[in-house]
Symmetry: C2
Amino acid sequence: MSEATTTDLYEVTMAMSYLRERMTGPATFSLFVRNLPPHRGFLVAAGLESSLDFLSGFRVGPEDIDAFAAALQRPRRDLEPLLGLEFTGQVRAVPEGRIVLAGEPLLEVTAPLPQAQLAETYLLNQLSHQTAIASKAARCLLAAAGHPVVDFSLRRTHGPQAGFQAARLSAMVGFAGTSNVAAAAAEGVPAVGTMAHSFIEAFATEEEAFRAFARSHPGPVTLLVDTYDTETGVRIAARVLRDLERGPGSAVRLDSGDLGALAVRARAILDAAGLPDVQVVASGSLDEYAVDELVRSGAPIDIYAVGTRVGVSADAPYLDSAYKMVEYDGRPVMKLSSAKVTAPGPKQVFRRAGYADVIALAGEQPPDDVSRPLLETVMQHGRRTSTRPTLAECRTRFAADLAELPSAARLIRSPVAPRATVSERLSALADRVRRRIEEETQVPVMRS
Amino acid sequence: MSEATTTDLYEVTMAMSYLRERMTGPATFSLFVRNLPPHRGFLVAAGLESSLDFLSGFRVGPEDIDAFAAALQRPRRDLEPLLGLEFTGQVRAVPEGRIVLAGEPLLEVTAPLPQAQLAETYLLNQLSHQTAIASKAARCLLAAAGHPVVDFSLRRTHGPQAGFQAARLSAMVGFAGTSNVAAAAAEGVPAVGTMAHSFIEAFATEEEAFRAFARSHPGPVTLLVDTYDTETGVRIAARVLRDLERGPGSAVRLDSGDLGALAVRARAILDAAGLPDVQVVASGSLDEYAVDELVRSGAPIDIYAVGTRVGVSADAPYLDSAYKMVEYDGRPVMKLSSAKVTAPGPKQVFRRAGYADVIALAGEQPPDDVSRPLLETVMQHGRRTSTRPTLAECRTRFAADLAELPSAARLIRSPVAPRATVSERLSALADRVRRRIEEETQVPVMRS
């Protein structure tokens, strides 16, 4: 089976109907996040590159047809119109690492209707998950206020694939390293990590453990000091580091207890031992809220290692994302039921100073000379139109967008997210489409 | 690179030290969940089978050595002692699908110390993630109180791999189907799903959309009725189903709005149209809390489709899991700092009636004639000792354990989790080890 089967069944049933009805005209779908989760002042666009990989490689093969037929309990021949189907469409998207707001399209697909529909599940999965994680990691970076932050999340992410993305995306927003060896190797991110409590316990004493570790690892070492009693652990670490003249670049790691208070004690012990350049690393249940408190309290912590809560975006593990058809065969469309009204037509987002973004129709001119469009054409005729950006390029994009982000949006607690406005032309089109649907369906629909 | 690099770097640094120090004696590590998340009365053990796959295939290859050397910025030759390392140990574990409590080992590894250490990250990742998801899905099954529940989560899980597991694990606890085609095909789970709002919008009217769908899908169909106005949608669906004589087995799906109230209206419209056997499917932001409310309100909903919130276990997206060394080279060990005291020694859990579980030492006799051990030997000398269970076998295990679970633990809101007790022998050992560590380290340690 190919990745074409990594899909909700309904994409397949719909594609079958479209082919039967010869509804293969071009459709545009828009993927966006309706509302930000609580405690989010912005989102960091992510997931585009793996989405483009999926679309480039999309091809319904014979085994996929078997899987579709089995799923539908239909004869194989009923599915054969889908055999060999590839993605031949266009993608316009916000490049990875850019900051986006609620309601702004992250990506728009324009392709023959069955193709655009079959892409839905995978694209939503990639962009929702990765944007959630990148946005969470970005908040940790803000909370750390210039201190290095590293990723320790692999052990509790939702599978190894999610762990890989947590490492990649946290590096994309500026983390200094990851514990994840596979991700470090694949993405060129510094790898970090030293020892677990079990290492200390495997030796008769902490001191023996520290000395053994130093023997097999020349250069700076990080010693975990909280296996038994933290202050004693720091004293033993200080003695070993001084004896071996391994201070500069080395560190002690605190992984439990009152990290702020223990950091103060550790710093004092290290300084008194003549080891002012031995750093203090803090880890253990950290996220942007905890890091923010520690930084504000002035805790003498040099490096923050965040893990589980960031790798799963614990306070907002999903986004309110949608992939909505906005145009079919030249006709703008929209959904009207309940609160989930969607705006019709292919779109562009213009970024103005201070994130006074304007969501406009794709063909519109920028509202002024200094506005810049967020969506770029990244795929034409099913092929990438540019090379894959490096992680460093994405990091540069993020840093540039972050530098312009209003301070209220950067707050860790109760941030105020900038709100994009809608252009006059898009607003007028939405009114026209709403009236047309009312006439065609004879249904009085609510105004948004 | 092999999956051996899907690891935290510190597992590698520790393994290097162990090899250098010739510390390759047998170590036992215990993997357990310290405390249940809020709103959990039990956990469903999961993740064992993929963990055993990992261990069976574990072999540090030349490319892994390159990745380790790059991560550590060390010459390749320093890593070569790890080349060819395989897992040759024993695994005792709770089979997938069984219900477990806080503090009970899900899995214990006994292997030469470097091997047992190198397995940590991957095993924690698999068991933490999968146990969290299986437990969340189990609660949905309980909330539905006999109504079929299906999985629609793929679009917002943390990547496709996590989506696959959500489908597999929800089927394991008794879901009736999944929208995930790949998982349905691989695991033999019924696939479900019909149409999106975009399908309706692609046609000039809802009625045309419904008729076109029915043309290409013989047999029962599920029609999505909330694209414009839900009650009108139900009326149109009723007309189409009646005209085409496609009522039995067919359904309407409600995906937005006040699902309970709309279900009442939909049921009335369908009954009035002479379609009492057309079912009502509800979806849209559902989880066990929402399903519980709908069921308790008596809403005439026949099938519940849960998605995102279950696939990411939104209210508890991670578990407080740990992989702790409990014995090395015949010597029981434990960690003492802060609140994270771990009990020493290899363990067994005996299940007594009413989940009055006893956590005991591995060699102990059962506390009584009716107690049954939870951990089974599943791997010896690095090889599985039994065949992989089918999903149906795991489902049977879960159903049997669920049938015995006290009703207070099954509650959706404020459940009361049974607490395992500790055997006298384990308790006595913990005291002895604590005293020994105090003497050896000269550190007064807290009592737990």
